[in-house]
Structures are given as C-alpha cells and as structure tokens.
Amino acid sequence: MNNNGNISRSVLICQGTSCSSQKSKKIREAFECGILEAGITDTKVDFTGCQGFCALGPVVIIEPEGILYTRVTVEYVPEIIRSHLQEGRPVSALFYTDPESGEAVPYYKNIGKYKKQHRLIMRNCGHINPEKIADYEAVGGYKSLKKIISHMSPQQVVDEIRCSGLRGRGGGGFPIAQKWDLCRATTADSKYVICNADEGDPGAFMDRNILEGDPHSLLEGLIIAGYAAGASKGFIYLRSDYKLAVKRIKLAIEAAKKQGYLGENIFGSGFSFDVSIRTGVGAYVCGEETALIATIEGKRGTPHPRPPYPAERGLWGQPTVINNVKTLANIPLVISQGADSYAKIGTVNNSGTAVLALSGKIVNGGIIEVPMGTTLREIIFDIGGGIPNGRRFKAVQIGGPSEACLPAGLLNTPVDFDSLAKVGASLGSGGIVVMDEDTCIVDIARYFLSFTQLESCGKCTPCRLGTKRMLDILERICNGKGKMSDLDLLLKLAKTVKEGSLCGLGQSAPNTVLTTLRYFKKEYEEHILRHHCRAAVCRGMVKAPCIHTCPAEIDVPRYIRSIQKGQPGEALAIVREKIPFPAVCGLVCFHPCESRCRRAQLDEAVSIRELKRYAVEYGNDIWKSRTKKALPSGKRVAVIGSGPAGLTAAYYLARSGHSVTVYESQPLAGGMLRMAIPDYRLPKDILDADIDEIISAGVTIKTNTEIYNVESLFEQGFNAVFVAIGAQNDLKIGISGEDDHRFIDRLAFLKEVNSGKKFSPGDRVGVIGGGHAAVDVARTSRRLGAGEVTIIYRRSREDMPAGLEEIEKALAEGINILEMTMPVQAVNGEDGVTLECIRMQKGDIDSSGRYRSVPMEGSEFSIELDSVIASVGQRLHIPDRFGLDTADDGFIGVDNFTLATDKPGVYAGGDAVLGPSSVIEAISQGRQAAKSIDIYLGGSGIIDETLAIPEDIDFLEDPSELPRQVSPVLPASERIKSFSQVELGYDREIAEEEARRCLRCDLE
C-alpha cells in the first residue's frame, strides 16, 4: 500500500450523493482494512464521484479490469478481497444483471446502458478522486489552461471555441464564442465570469454529478473563460443544498490556488483570476441568468429584461459571461483535443454531447451522456432499458418542468438543439422524464404548471397571473369540471404567457400544456366530456381506480366490502346497479379494473372479477325486490342485435318505461357471448340466466329475424333504433394461399362448436393472432382433439392483447406460442399446409407505445399444419340499406359520447362502432345508448338503479396482508378432455379473505 510505484489495481468506490447515502464510506473503510489485513500491496482504494449507476448502488469498480459490482454491502467486501483481489475470481453474485437477457454482465463497458454513450464531459466522473487535484492532473487536467496561457491570446481562445461550434448547455444553446466575444470587446473597469450551477429542475442532477465527480474540469473551464473574456473574477453559483458539491468545489478552488492555477499572475502570464462560491437557497428562477446575477448582488432573485445582456452589463453593471456547468466542463476538452476534432462529435451545428438525466418510468434511471443527435428512442429504450413492469411508453418530457411532452410518434427525434426546436421542444436542462400509461397527461401538465407557478418570481404579470389561471383551468379539468371552451382559453393564455413574459421561466412555462394539447388532446377531451381519466389518477374524478377504469363504473370497492361483510346478495345488488350481465362479467370480463388496482403496487391486484363471480354464485335475489319500473312512456324502441350492447340497452330502456323489441338474426339471443366464447369459459346456462332476467324486465326478443332497413322500423312505429349488430366478418391474414379449405373461418368454427356440433380441425392447428379470440380458438381446438396447437403472433408475448391468465392456461394445456413471428405465405400440399413464416424484431414504437415489429431478414422458416385459423380482427357486416354513415375504418360513425348516428333517433354501439372489443365495453356502450335514447324520447337519461341498501362505513378493519387468492381450476389434463368450466370459483372463506385485501381507495 505504501509503495505507490507498485500500484497496479484500483478499487474505486462510488461516493456520489446517492451511493454516499447508502453507506459507501463504510464500504471504503472495509476495503482499506481488509486489504491491509490481507497484506495486498498492489491495490489502492479510493473513492470517486458518481459512476452513473445510482439505481444499483452502492457500486464499486475494480480497475484495470473494469469490473462493476452492484449493490455492494460491507458484508461482501471480504469476499471481493479474497476471491477477486487475491484469487483472481471476480464475484459473479454482484454483477449487473441484464434485464432483458437475464445474464450477468461483469464489465461496465458492456452494460447496455453504457454502450451507446459517449462520455466526454463526464469522462472523469467515477474514475478519479474528485478531491485530489493530482488525479485530475494525471488525466491531463489543467493542461489546457497551461496551453492557452502560454501559447494563445484570448482572441485565439475565443476563435478556437467558435470553430468547435460549442453551444451553451444551459438550455438555450447560444454559441459560446459569441458570448465571450461580446464581453471581451467591451471596455469596463472589471469583468466577471459566472458558472451557473443552480440546477433546479426536478429530475435533473447532471450538473451535480460534474460538481461532485469532476470539479476541476469545470474550474479549469471557468478560468479559461475568464482568460478569454478578459475577466479577473469568477463566481460559481450553486444551491446550498448541494452540500457535497459545495465541499468539493471549495476543495478544488483551494487546491487550484495552491498549484498556482488560480490567483495573481498565473504562471507569470500577467493574468490573474480569482473564484468565489455563492450559494442560493433554491429559488428555481435563480437559474435564469439575470435573476442569478441579482442574487449575487444581494437582491431579490428576479430577472430583468434583456437587452442589455449580461455580456454587456451584468454583475454590478459590468460585462459578465455566464455559462452553465456542462458548458464549462467542455472547454478544457475543446482546447485539449482541438476544435476540429471536437466539432466532429455530434451533428452539424450541434457539436459535442448531451448530458441527460433519465428519470420517471424507466428501467435504467440516472445520468447518461450521448453524442448530440442520438434519438429519444435510443436514449429511452436502448440506454434507458425502456419502461418497467411491462407498461407502455406514453410520453417523454425533455428539458425541465416547463418543457415539452412528446408522444411515442416523436421518439425518433434526435436529441439536439435544432431538432428538438422543430417539434416544439428544447434540450433545456437535459432532464428526461419518461411517462408510462399510468400517467395522466392532463395531470402531468397540471403538476408541472403548479411547479412553475409556485416558482414564478411574481415580477411580470403574464407569468404570475397567467400561469395561475392556466393552473386553475387544468385543476378544473382534472376535477371533472372542465368545459370544452377551457381548451381555447388555455391556448389563449399559453400564448399570452409565452409571448408576454419577461424571462425564460414564463416564456417556457406553457410548453408542457401546449405540447400535451397538441399531442394528447384526446385525453383532455375525455376528461372534459366523459369525466374520464384513462390513467385513473385525477383525484377529482377518480373515486377509486377500479371504479374509474370499469367501463360500466361498477362500484367495486363497495361490493367487495359487502362480500367481506358476508353479504354476497348485497354485493350482487351493487353489481346489478350498473350491469345486467353480472354472471357473464363474473366469468369473462377482461377486468381493466384490476390493471389499475392500487393493491398491485404492494403485491398483486385484488381479484375483482373472481369476487364478482362469487357474488353472483352466492348472492340471493334480494336485488329483485328493490327494482322499480318506470311508468310506460308509450314510446317504442327497436334494438338490432342481442349481444351485450344490445341487450344492455334494451334492459335499461325497458326499465325506463319504454317498450323494447330486440331483433336477432340468429336462433338464440346473446350475440358474440353465445357464438364466440367457448363453454369452458362461459357455460351457456349461465348466459341464459342473465338473459332471462333481461327478458323478465319486459324486453321482447325476436330471434331469427334479420333487419335490413332501419326506416322500416320507424314505419312500424318505433320511435328510436339502437344498432348493435356487432362485427361479424373475420379479416383475412393477407397472405397467398389462404383461400384453401384448410384455412378455417374463425367465427364459423366457434359458432359450430358452440352450437354443439362436433368438428375436428385436425391434429396440427395453427392459430394466427394474439387476442382473446385467438387463445379461445387454440384452446377449443385442443379440446376438439388437436394434438399440436400453435399460436403465431407477430409481436412479443407481453404484447398479446389476450390476458396473461388466459395465456398461462393455454400454455398449461400444451399450446405453443410462436411469438415475434409472422406468416408470409401458405403452400397447400397433400398432407397439409406449409406455412412459411418470418421472424420479427422490435422496430420503432408506435403511437400506442408498443414496438412495431419488423421482419428480420433471412429468418424465414416454415411449419407444417393441418389447418389454420386466422384471428386477426373483424369487420363490420352492415347491410347498405341501414343507410348509416360509416367511418374510414368501416365501422359505424357515431358521436363518441352520445352514440347518436347522423340519422335522428338512430343510435349505434358495441363492436359495430368500436370494432372488436370486450364484453364490458359493449355493456358500457349499451348503457350509454340507453341514456341517450331515453333522453331522446323525453326521459331523464338516468338509468342507474338503487338496488343495494346504503352502506354503513364504520367497518374499517385493516386490509389483509395475504397474497392474492387463486381460484381453484381443473387440472390441465382434465381440462382438455371436455368443455367443462375451467375455473371453479371461490368458496365463501376464500372470497372473504380476498375481499379483505381491498385497500378501499374510495374511502380515502
């Protein structure tokens, strides 16, 4: 240890703020003691600034091997010393694990996150001891300063910077040389240079990294700036809460003074330069240069109008150059490697790198540095590792709280000053906040505006009052009280604030609102028109996320509480207040409610659907005694189609006193519920029971009756018509050879099977598609005796629209899934079909936040099949004579919120409008149609019923900590033998136990 000459290895312990807070100091001590005890003499132990793996800390790097250990604790230190340092066997248990491949990655340079980076400004961070000037000098530090002082005139320095094309990293991207030149050209008693290290953006901490990890690089840059601009005094302005940074900068200044890099007559050149630290207390606006200058002068930190620019009249009225930390850290580099070579990094007119702080819903958060021009997609997905927990990407905010939110469609935007400006964004601070589908875009706009409003200095009217009014409107919208005219008002205000405000804070404050209105307007409209927050976060309209996500708005927490109280009858009544298909939903609902269940943030979602089924199975008919039927209205309504949409509408319209007739072309009512869902998921007697209740509410169903003409219904005396005919025609795959008889029509197949006909699709069945229907077809085929059933899907398994539970059951039943595969053509032979396929790979992200999949060249292969069933989507089969407008995609066009067609009195809903969708969405459409038609016929439009007794909420025992209760299922081997119901349902004990898991968000 004492003999420095023999040191060949370093143990570098990260002592950035994040790792420090996790006891990196103790780890260092343990290494020092351990190495001493072990008698190792060729290894030094030192700490460094942030190594950039904050989420994995504390981290330790062993050089020269370049091995990275993550989540190191004191307990592991003896093992590392023994195994790695003494025996040469690195400790694999502490390696980084690649989240995709699951493989351990020993070398930090091979970590995916590192690969696409170009560490220029942060070249030394994590590799040198920031408190030792010798470390910095050893990697070439202060050579640039020596070079310019001895060989270059200030003008030459400015020219060199100009040639490098370096632009300010503070956000605006102003050419540095121009700023310096302006200051240099003035005559004044004194001039100043200021390093703006007032990093105040939420989610931005890269300046801090440099301040803490490589303070000398910025100090050297500052001195060079002073030399070039003709200043003799410099200030570093940073936040007082950056305690470690303040300490290290102080140490750096002291050390630089000792070495003669700072002070009077530096290297005998006649150039004198002194640096002082000023700390601010965290007002965001003090990052604005004129406000920052005001605070150094001891005044309230408010900006003043430019011109005059600080370079002409700045601190104490003297010419002042003010540059950001990252800008200054670049300077020594430009000088040392030369302008030409620097200019080659990045893109034209945007030279160098961008240092970015990734945060939000991203796997690898932390600081990264990439060449200018790297796309957002590369940054978020290749380096950042994408979105955690299988969620989808929704938006990315870049540059700070007052900057743009960009949608998936703009992920290919290169990150550089000019490209971002084109899409209404700005590099700003370099903070990148990633948002997934659980983020409400209106709420995000509200949140960031509340930040800028709070941080507005109050000096200028538009920023002080305009942001407040904008915030009021956003709060109104988030509370479900918005009006459509508010959106115009928002735009008007945004323009006023943007164009009218004094400084950058106000001028950029509306950007989040403007870009979200531009790219996510639909979500605003949902909030305003439907009081719906698709992410279920807006507290004003979201009572509980489950209620809010349920298309029928079933009061989930309340029925769960009834179950918990041992009152399944009340629970059923509560469910029935919103839907006439409780039994069906209890079995087959795709339960979007569970996807937003807050319990999932602790362990797993409450099994809401299963509890509904329990309520249906164990609940009594008490609800019936509480139903009320309105007096006859004398109005008649025709409903075309007896699927869930049609029957729901019929049920509520009948309850509202109208005379309702449902027309069904098939022999039995139920639509897709009957035709498409196999018995093992939905036994027909259960369906019949729900339909019977609908009939007993007074609905007349005329089966085997096809309607060809809406007008004729009016002629028959109907006052209104609801078209709910579903989407009956299957789409083709779109490959050659699919006209063969072994390509089976999915609906016809299911229809036949469900009508009880025996049908054999053969032994080797291929199912194309990834939705519920595809899985149903596959599992049905298996039950029909197919030995080898393969689902072929072009995206990944995680992206399959079919629920995970269904997929797992299918796998258990021996069904294969060929993911990332697309059929190209079919060759129909004697013995079957040769389906030629190609492997797919991940491409861009589409507007829904999913990867596009693109064919992988040369990966063609084929599989042999006896039959192929395509389940790739449905089309509407609509008799022309209905005379209704259809939208571009072929479905009926309606007013999104009332479901009215352009024909008076005619409404449409369900799959015929939505395209293939879920049972609960169809029910929701039926409810909406009933409301709209009731209003059309002169009613109130209120269809909700009160079927349960008012709840007594003194019942508040703490939620259970047990895991999610699994419903018993038939063993897979049994399942494939018949069409018996697979899930067996909860018994009372399990149900009540599961109900106790509910967190009762609605009572918060």
Binding site: A283, G458, T461, P462
Partner: protein, 889 residues
Amino acid sequence: MSKVNLTVDGRKITAEAGMSVLEAALQNGIYIPYLCHSANLKPHGGCRLCIVEIEGMEGLPTSCTAVISEGMVVKTATPDVNEVRHNIMQLLLADHPLDCLTCVKNQNCELQKAAAYLGIKERIFDHNDRNFPVDDSNPFFTINRNYCILCQKCVRVCDEITCVNAIEVINRGYESAIGTFGNKPIMESNCQSCGECVVHCPTAALTIKKTEVPAYEVETTCPYCGVGCSMYLGIKNNKIVSVRGSNTDVNNGKLCVKGRFGIADYVHSPERLKTPLIKEDGKFRKASWDEALSLITAKLSSYPKEQVGVISSSRCTNEDNYVAQKFCRLVLGTNNVDHCARLCHAPTVAGLAQTFGSGAMTNSIEDMAETDCFFVIGSNTTEAHPVIGMNVKQAVRKGAKLIVADPREIDMVQFADIWLQQYPGTDVALLMGMAKIIIDEKLHNSDFINKRCENAEAFLESLKDYDIDFVERVTGVPREKIRAAAHMYAAGNPSSILYTLGITEHSHGTDNVIAIANLAMITGNIGKRGSGVNPLRGQNNVQGACDMGALPNVYVGYQSSTSPETKKKFEAVWGGNLSVARGLRTQEMFDGACDGTFKALYLIGENSVLSQPNSNHVIKALSALDFLVVQDIFLTETAQLADVILPASSFAEKDGTFTNTERRFQRVRKAIEPIGESLADWEITCEIAKRMGGKGFDYKHPSEIMDEIAYLAECYGGINYARLESGGLQWPCPASDHPGTPILHTTQFACRKGKLLPLKYRPSEELPDDDYPLLLTTGRRLFHYHTGTMTRKTEGLNIFMGRERVQINPLDAEKLGIGDSDVIKVSSRRGEVQAGVEVTRVVPPGVVFMSFHFAESPTNMITSCAMDPVTQTPEYKVCAVKIEKVIVN
C-alpha cells in the same frame, strides 16, 4: 444630447438618445398603455402592457426597457401585441375589484385608463377575490392589496427614491404580494411614512386616508425645513384637502412625512388664533384689531429707541421679514432686530464670511447627483432634511462614497463607507486632523491653494498641533478611520461636505465651520458641480430671514448697518433717519430685559420659551419686559407671556417668497382665505408702522415689497414675482436677465481669495462630571418640527411620536435601571425636565439625546447657556446632565 430618429406606427419621430421607446413615444404624443413605468424610476419591464413589435427584435419586447436606436421601426398595436396585451389586462382584472365608481382612485386610476384604452368591455376570467387583509396601521395611508397589480412601483420607490426599503415583494408565484419584512403591518416596519409609494401607486392599493378631490390646486413652498420643497395644495371649500409634491429641481415631486401629511391639520387647527388678544389681569380677552393696534402703537412709542426691539421669524416670508426689520429700523429707529438664525446657523454666516466671503450653501441640491464623495458631519440628514437625505442616499446607491461623522449612529451611517464616531464637540480636532493627513500625505490640491487661497503658510503651520495621537485621543476615532476618511474625501472627484447644527451649535461653532471651509479649500472642492461646503439650513426661511436683514448688524443683502454709506443709501430710499448704532442680539435683548435696560419687544413667529437654551432665563426675561407683543398663528408657550397677541395668517393664506437652503427664492402663494380675522405678518407690521407714523408701508401686495428688496440689494436685483412664476431663482441674481447662481465661488471667492485660517481646539464648555455624568446632545426627530407648534397639531405625527423619549445607551440604561416604559427626570445645573425613554444603541454610552419638539418636556430648560463667542449661538449640542427614574403613581 444627440437625437435619434425612429418610426413609431408609421410616424417619424425624434427623441434624445438613450431614451426608451416608451418615453420617446409618450413624448411625441403616442400613447402606449403601461402600468409599471414611471419617469422617476428605473425601467422595470414587469407589467408587460407596453409590449410592442420592433423590427429586427424577436418576440414582443417591452417598450419601457427597449432603448431607441437610429432607424428603429416600432409598431405599438399589431394584432399580436393587442391580443397579448388584452389578455394581460384581463388577467389583472380577474384579480381586481370592479368597484370603480366608489373607489377613491376613480378617474385617477392608471389601470382604469389602460383598460379603457384597450376597450375592455367584459372580463373573460371569473373574478377572483384575493381577500387580503387591509393594512390600516399607518395613520396617513392605507394598504389594500386587493387592489394591487404588483407593478412594484411602491417597492421601487422605497428602494430607488427613498432608499428606505420598507416595502418589499413577499412570497412567490401567484402568492406574490407587496409586504414588509416579516410581513408585519407597515407601522411595525422601518417605513418613514413619506408617502412616496402612495403617490406612485397606479391603483387604490395605496391610498391616503384623509384626502378629497380638490376643486383646484395652488403651487407653493413647503413651510417646514430648509429644503424648500415645492408642493401643490389642493383646495376645496377654502380647505386644504390634498398635498402633492411639485416637480422642480429642488424636490422632483418628493415630499417627506411632515410636508405631505402635516400641513392641513395645523393650518385648519381649531387652536388657530382668530382674533387679537389683550391680557388683562393675567388673562387674555378677545380684542378688535383697532384696539390691539392702538395699544401697541401707544406702548411702543413710549420707550427710548434703544430699549425696544423686534425678533423676526425664519418661518415667515422674505417680505414679512423685510418689513419687520424695516419697521424696526425706520419706525422704531433701532438696529435691535434679530431672529432665530442666531440659534442655528449664525456660525455658518460668520465662519464662511471669514473664509469665503459669503455665508451660504455653496452648491445646489440638484448637483448632489454628481457628487463623488459626501462628507456628512453633524447632520442627521434623513431626519432633519429628509428629501436631501433621499438624494444623498440615491447618489450613494449609484456609487458615490459616503463618510458620516456623528457621535450617534444616525440613519445615514448604514449607507456610509466610513463612520467616524467622534466625541461630541471635538469636530475641530477631527477636521484639522484630517487636513493634516491630507497635507502630510500630499493629497491636497496645491494648484487650488496657490491660485485661489491665501494665508496658507499660517494655516499649514497651525496643523502641527494636530498630530494623529492627539486627534485620536481627543475625538475617540481610531486613526485608521480618520486616515481612511481623509483619503476618501481628498480622492473624491468632486467631494461635498454637508453639515448642519451638529457643527454650528457649539461654543466653538464658528471654528467648526472654518475647519470645514479649510478642508474644502485645501482639496479644491469649491466652485464646481457636486462639490462645496453645504450647510443645510434648518427652517424653511432661515436663509431668507438673514438675507432680508433681520439681523442687528446688516441690512437686506448683508449691507452693514453700522456703515454710514449704507445708512445714507437706505435713508434715501426709505425716507427717514436710521441709526448706525450696533443693534442688540436676541440674547442681549433678553439679558437687557432682566437688567431692566430693555423694555419692549415685538416678537414675530418665534417660540423662544422652548427654542432658546436655558428656558428659565428666557421666561424670566420675557416676564421682566415692560411690554411684549407676540404675533403668531398659535397661542404658544411664549405667547402666553405676551401683553398683546396678534393672530397671523399661515403660509397657506398669504403670498410671498421663501429662500431655501440653496439660496433659492421660491414663491409662497395664497391658497385659502385667512383663518378668522388673521392677517399676513407683513400686513400687521405695516399697519403698526403706519399707525406709528411710518412712511413707505403702503404695500398693496408682497410683490411690491420684493421689488423694493431687489432695488436695495444688488444680489437680489434680478428677482421679481413675474420671473418667479417660472420657477425659483438662486441668488446672487443681480439683474433681470441673470439666470441666478447655482454654485458660488466658481472662479473666485466672494472675498476674492479664500482664506485658510489656523484654529485652536477648544473643548466644549460644560462636560460631564461626577455630579452630571452624562453628556446631553440635542437635535431633531423626523416626525416633528421645531417646538412642535405645527406638527403637534397633526394626530398622525403624534401617533408616530407623541412624547419626548430620551435616547440612552443600553449600558447606561441598565446602570440606571431604566427601560423603554419608564419616565425619567433629566436635570442639569439649570433645571430639569421629565421625559420618556428610548433605550438604543444609536447613542454611545455616556451620551443621551433629546429633541426640543415637546412642550411637555422642554429640553431647553436644561441646555447650556454657553455660547459661541463670535455669534452668541448657544451650545445646544453639549451639556452635562444626570438622569433619575421617576416613580409614577
């Protein structure tokens, strides 16, 4: 100034380089709406209403901050500008009450004006009630932040103009509001209640409590201190209902708390004297003018001329004073005329006459903006001359250096680069010590000394007495500080000395003044802008009263009363016999009264009982008089002793002129009819004169008196009322085409060469000892004036300070066991007074401070009767006292 051509909305206009686009447009009659702009303040760019489009500039720059340039093309009302401007106004209106009709600022509101210009007809945002509590704590104005539009003019005024910084912006974002440090009521802040913020407020956020819209306004001159601020009195139904500053070189619209809020209440006080009063059997009864004047005529005619005299008044007009001394000299036949300059700046007149040849402020208030280094000694400028105080602070804010020499830590100290805390009464040592350093270290201006001064050798020789050890010991100021101050003053280019009574009211007051003059001469700080020796005169017309010859030794224009030639000149004009016998000074008259050699006194507008030192002696003297006439506006403590009291009109009820500290004649204009039967002082004096057979007292209007003054004194020869209509004139102004003299001694001194004079340091007469261990020094307080006859009539001023509170250092207070709530007895060898206590570090240990504003605590009962031997100016600034706690039952 060079001119710049630009185009605004297609119109070609020309304006001075350096102007903002807004100023240039407004000057050329193009209105751009604005709310935060003020010609008196730095550009702010906050309200954003004055945005425009400028070719070649990005976005919508504010015209108040954009500086004009040649060929600039400005568009003030493009659709973009209009839209943003409109919305900004809507934002303001959303938070603003819409009770215009009942608002005090109705039709006088800049928000209203701008909204009307923008054609706002309805609000697009829901109205938001801010519900700020109203701050009603200040007696003069109300802060109602519900009307505030946060233009920050008040904040900026309080920073840039008054440099008090009582109002700040508190909080951030939407919660931003004007407030005070700690957001306490304004009365608990350091606000000095000058009201500048109220004047600048564009809305009703800051409003004066007692104010009405006047029927008309009359421009006149403030009756308080020697600054001589111009002001408009707003009149309605013969009452003063508003006061506002006028925009002149003197005060640029500024006023202090007394001027702005302390006038109407005393002018309209029910205590005003409304009829003559005659004392019978020790009691006053109302009398008719005829009766009173007859009595006076008879009495005054009955004494030998050397046994009668006149004391005139620094608060009366020049014309009043001229007539008073003319009456005394011509009708009474004696030079026994004096006035209260004797008590204050007589050493200035004497000291500067010896050194420069003329005893007045050498420079102007306006040129202080160019001073590089101020040396403020013996002047509590911010309290005694608040508006000049503001100017000095502004200059310091802009980079001027400031040296303050004062035993107390006065307000100015916090703005000072160097504070010299000398022991009271050691100024000669301090100033001569500085002079020695300047000479020794070759910081002097030898060119100036050689060319413009004389007697240098004797002076330089005398400096050897002031070696730094001696100076440090005598003054108690560390030598480094003295040296630093000497360097700073000598380096100032230019430097200016401001002083007041802390210099003159000493037993060596004239020496102090000479020491100051010496300092200015050796550094050449005389005769140029921003430099000079600048005694700040105390009362509104103390300069004028001296100028008018209300002094025993000189006629108007400082023409010697003992000179036969002058006698001849005046006899020719006045038409009567004049005396060349030396007249009595005030003190001599009082002494004579006690001796029985002085019998009758006509005392105009002076409250000697409270203002003279050693009041017991004054009361004794006045009581001993055979006949005392007091002419005043109130029944003062002095008037109580009179045989006849004559009701005079206040400044608001008469025409005339005041001469302010910088020698500027300014008009006083009659704004209301006289209260009761009161008459202007000159009218009363003329009436007495005429009844006593005096000729030449038939003036119909004060302008005729001014014409006579101009005729008789060369230095005022060019001054007449017609010229004064267009602003004040600074004497010397010898001819009607002479512009007046802002700076004295520019090319040569009044006495040709400046005379450097050697000085001997003499300690004050009465210093603390075992019996009287504390040193009492006296002075003024911001909220009151003189003996309080005027300011004590304003309730609000009494709320700020309603009784005497002796300033005492905490160490002394602790020793004596007294605190802020106690009553104490302060006694000297001459008497005792009771007063309250203010424990404060403003005074050093061993020193106590009192004002002389309160009749209840007549400080001058105890002050010393030591006097400056040259001028008989009393040593108010130093005497020995002791303090005891009074047990109040």
